[in-house]
Symmetry: C2
Subunit: 197 residues, 2 copies
């Protein structure tokens, strides 16, 4: 459990990495270990004795804390002595929780845009009008294609049955889906392609 050691967590890092840090902190025993190590560096066996935990379990916890860069280990004699490491803990919580704007924001505005488009064109699950702009049409199609089960085939009639729930102009929708590559047609049989994301 030592290979992935000590990435310093730059502000640019992704949500998974940030969540890993919090997961490492999200256990009472590990918080206690940090408190104990803060007082003075300690080795696993000592911690096991104090915490009344199996040595293997303590090793497990220490591994997690070291993995996210909260602890560093130094080997002396038998012992693997752990100490607090890095300035990670001096950061305000918000610095770890919130992504720097370019990162999430872009992603989010993207989503927000999708939302806005869908909200504009759908009403009560029906497609009120077919978007004239290609980009918006794409968003609508990506939404509609999710009504088709992956791993299943549809006759053209079945495709139409799905589409008519959205809009009467099933021909335009069907052609759009195929043109966008969201449905494939082979021998008059339709099938949904790669999952939406």
């Amino acid at each position: 459990m030592n290979e992935a050691a000590t990435q310093p967590l730059t502000p640019e890092q992704n949500l998974e990495a940030r969540a890993e840090l919090f997961k490492a902190l999200g256990h009472p025993m590990r918080l206690l270990i940090l408190n104990l190590v803060k007082m003075k560096p300690r080795h696993g066996e000592e911690l096991a004795a104090i915490l009344n935990l199996n040595a293997a379990t303590v090793s497990h916890h220490l591994g997690k804390l070291a993995e996210v860069g909260l602890l560093t280990a130094e080997k002396t004699q038998y012992y693997q002595v752990y100490s607090l490491s890095g300035a990670l803990l001096d950061k305000p919580l918000r610095d770890v929780v919130f992504m720097p704007q370019p990162g999430v924001a872009a992603q989010v505005e993207e989503d927000a845009y999708r939302q806005k488009v869908l909200k504009t064109f759908f009403k009560y699950g029906r497609l009120k009008a077919i978007p004239a702009q290609l980009k918006k049409f794409m968003i609508v199609l990506e939404h509609i294609v999710q009504e088709f089960e992956p791993e299943r085939t549809y006759t053209e009639r079945e495709v139409n049955q799905v589409l008519v729930e959205f809009n009467d102009d099933v021909a335009t929708l069907r052609r759009g889906l195929v043109d966008a590559g969201l449905l494939v047609r082979e021998n008059s049989i339709y099938r949904r392609t790669a999952p939406a994301e």
Copy 2:
């Protein structure tokens, strides 16, 4: 999932509560939710759409975030609109991780002391000498008694067999254990009393 709402997390709070906060933060989806809500208050359905998650799942996540006081909800029309709440995120990480000294420290020094005593008097599992100070003798006895199985009876001879592994002066050890109430003797039969912790 709304009953346990919004405890402000005083610095005096215990490790479990602190761990709960970190657990709530220890999931990428919940971090994303916080980032999204930071931009503007949002309701569950919107988040479900953006995150491409089931509404029930989003509700679950929002519940956890609200439970530890990171979000607050306000009801408007249909919607339950969530916003960031409290100054929790402005705290430096260390303020949440580290207990105020009186709490852990006392507990810990206690343990550290035990450790030191045991290390002083035991060598390779044997008791090198019998402590003259009562307090230290107690610590040693509490350690030794763990070699006795609870829920089992021992003859005096069996007791001695266990004790001689620690030190040849079995009589002193045996008497000490009984005096300390760690072993009880009834009709020449010994039995361990309440579990160590």
